[in-house]
């Protein structure tokens, strides 16, 4: 095992896949000469060259559209959206084209495309640059949506995404890039569509993913001091959504809190809670709580922004409420 940051994990996955398969290439804004606005592709341009590390105009529909076309003819593009907020400028190509081209033409087209998009709030970037709209994309059949919360999963899931013959939206959280974790030295992939128990416990099940995994683990440590042991299930993929570990955990704890960074309404928590009630109603001993972002556009002011985002103490409070 090697102890590396999330940024290094993503970067290594890209590098190793590009070394492995000449059909893999990167395109996006400032991915080349600049080295990536989050420095994920630093050094790539010099090593792989301008053909495989392609700087694009600031034109998201062209970036995703061109990536789709290249994928349709057999390449394996990894398109980077500087932030997931810019995905809205390419919304048609993501949800109307990439997600539908296979089925709409009776299976004639494959779209082995990865869209890397950086999301999340907490950096005082204002309302348009701080969103966590993962659930919006997970709504659409035909897409896969992946959002890792650890370096190990980031590297394994990104490799799996690049090798997948389906379009994958790979969401990275901007404030997780410095997070460190152990990563296997040998080549590995992490299966898309498999949730994972990241912490075992007997009292309450926390269902979460991405940045909120980090906060949930910290909350779990605080709760442990009070003798409360939570089990944390990390969804890792929002579509396909693997409910089996969630339900299995719930059958043990009979209580659940769902933690997500996005807005509560029509969110990941709404879906997970609905599935729990549909599939394991008899095992639920207390109303399920959701911890999520306040229903406001995120303000610039740091205090107000943090008020709107889920905090560790919110998770602690919610867990105590369901006990």
């Amino acid at each position: 095992m090697a102890r590396i940051t999330m940024r290094e994990a993503v970067s290594q996955a890209l590098w190793e896949e590009m070394e492995r398969d000449p059909k893999v290439f990167i395109l996006g804004e400032e991915v080349g000469v600049w080295g990536g606005t989050y420095a994920v592709t630093k050094g790539f341009y010099d090593h792989f060259g301008a053909e495989r590390v392609r700087d694009t105009p600031i034109a998201e529909a062209a970036i995703i559209g061109a990536a789709i076309g290249a994928a349709m003819v057999g390449l394996r593009p990894v398109a980077e959206l500087m932030t997931i907020n810019f995905a809205f400028s390419a919304m048609d190509h993501i949800v109307n084209q990439a997600a539908k081209l296979r089925s709409m033409f009776g299976g004639q087209f494959a779209v082995p495309l990865v869209i890397r998009a950086v999301g999340g709030g907490g950096r005082q970037l204002g309302a348009t640059h701080s969103q966590t709209p993962d659930a919006v994309f997970a709504h659409f059949p035909g897409l896969k949506v992946v959002a890792p919360g650890t370096p190990e999963d980031a590297k394994g899931l990104l490799k799996a995404a690049i090798r997948s013959d389906d379009p994958v939206l790979f969401v990275e959280h901007a404030t997780l890039y410095q997070l460190r974790g152990d990563v296997p030295e040998a080549d590995y992939t992490t299966p898309i569509g498999k949730s994972k128990v990241q912490r075992e416990g007997r009292d309450v099940t926390i269902v979460t993913y991405s940045k909120m995994l980090e906060l949930s683990l910290k909350a779990a440590n605080l709760l442990s001091q009070d003798g409360i042991e939570v089990e944390i299930v990390d969804l890792r993929s929002l579509r396909p959504l693997d409910m089996a570990p969630v339900l299995e955990s719930l059958k043990k704890t009979n209580r659940a809190v769902i933690v997500e960074e996005g807005w509560k309404s029509y969110g990941v928590g709404s879906e997970v809670m609905a599935r729990i009630y549909e599939e394991a109603f008899d095992y639920v001993d207390a109303p399920i709580r959701r911890v999520a972002q306040m229903e406001v556009p995120l303000p610039y002011n740091r205090t107000l922004e943090q008020m709107a985002l889920p905090q560790i103490e919110d998770i602690v409070k919610a867990v105590k409420e369901v006990l």
Binding site: I64, V73, D92, N96, G106, P112, G142
Partner: protein, 322 residues
């Protein structure tokens, strides 16, 4: 072109016309659902373009796609079966009128969101450039698509990256019911290519030989120079935008004027004038097309509906993802 090729262009145009006429009938009988956009009047455009391509050249178009489907060689049977939503349709009945494609014939669809296939076409061409193929992507779209952002993003990208794309604007003078003059800041669409320093030409789309020659020249330029070219082809659709068009935006006399300048009629006169074939030979082509049409309708009507399990197939390559 030799005689056989000349007659093949004629056959394709007649076949498109007849497929579309029958489609209109089937629509009125309630056998075709959804939207139906007919290509009648525009046959010379796709026929001339596809005739100019090499096998490695890809074609991608918008939702008015039945013409290209016929030109690339999809049998009329599979076109009509798709319109009827049958399992034997070219897209297994899942795409319908606006979503026909045939990868084996290098036809990349049939795309229903105006302008959205232009960035995708840039990507197809990027694939060829990346893999060092000398194929060109022929991307067709209507005049209405040139006012949307996708058009401009795609043209710019194709020029910046020198992608082998032939951009083809089929200017049929109306975007649905809005004239080009009411929707576009410039009345000649080719002018928009000037903004991207892209060579361009505007030609008559009612003459299949003019279209074919313009496409041959443009394709040669792209293969030689390695960058994109925009060809504006001025044409006219005789029928409404779709079957539900009340056509309040134009007068019957205008349609009639263009019908007197019919692409099939023009080409038929050329063939006879130049002694390529006689009237009776052309009548023979017409009646062979008629046989083809009768067979295609019979095939489409008697084909099975898609099996219920088809609802869940073809959504992901990874079937465990569903």
């Amino acid at each position: 072109m030799d005689k056989q090729e000349s007659l093949e262009l004629y056959r394709q145009m007649v076949l498109i016309r007849r497929v579309e006429e029958e489609a209109a009938q089937l629509y009125q009988q309630g056998k075709i659902g959804g939207f139906l956009h007919l290509y009648i009047g525009q046959e010379a455009v796709s026929t001339g373009l596809v005739a100019a391509r090499l096998p490695q050249d890809r074609v991608i178009t918008a939702y008015r796609d039945h013409g290209v489907a016929i030109n690339v060689g999809i049998p009329a049977r599979q076109v009509l079966a798709e319109l009827l939503g049958k399992a034997t349709g070219i897209s297994k009945g899942k795409g319908g009128s606006m979503h026909m494609a045939d990868v084996n014939r290098n036809f990349w669809g049939g795309h229903a969101i105006v302008g959205a296939h232009l960035p995708i076409a840039a990507g197809l061409a990027l694939g060829d450039q990346y893999q060092k193929s000398n194929g060109v992507t022929i991307c067709m779209f209507g005049d209405g698509a040139t006012n949307i952002g996708y058009f401009h993003e795609a043209l710019n990208l194709s020029k910046v990256w020198n992608l082998p794309v032939l951009w083809v604007c089929e200017n049929n003078l109306y975007g649905m019911g809005t004239t080009v003059e009411r929707a576009s800041a410039v009345s000649e669409i080719r002018q928009k290519a000037e903004g991207y320093c892209m060579p361009n030409e505007r030609v008559d789309g009612m003459d299949v030989l003019v279209v074919r020659q313009a496409a041959l020249d443009a394709l040669a330029y792209i293969r030689d120079a390695g960058g994109p070219f925009l060809l504006e082809i001025v044409t006219y659709r005789y029928r409404g935008h779709s079957m539900g068009d009340p056509e309040r935006y134009r007068k019957a006399e205008e349609v009639q004027k263009y019908q007197e300048n019919d692409p099939i009629g023009i080409y038929r006169r050329y063939i006879i004038r130049d002694g390529i074939a006689s009237d009776s030979e052309l009548d023979g082509v017409d009646s062979a097309v008629e046989d083809d049409i009768l067979d295609a309708i019979q095939f489409a009507e008697s084909s099975p509906e898609p099996a219920p399990e088809e609802l869940f197939s073809d959504i992901y390559a990874d079937e465990t993802a569903y």
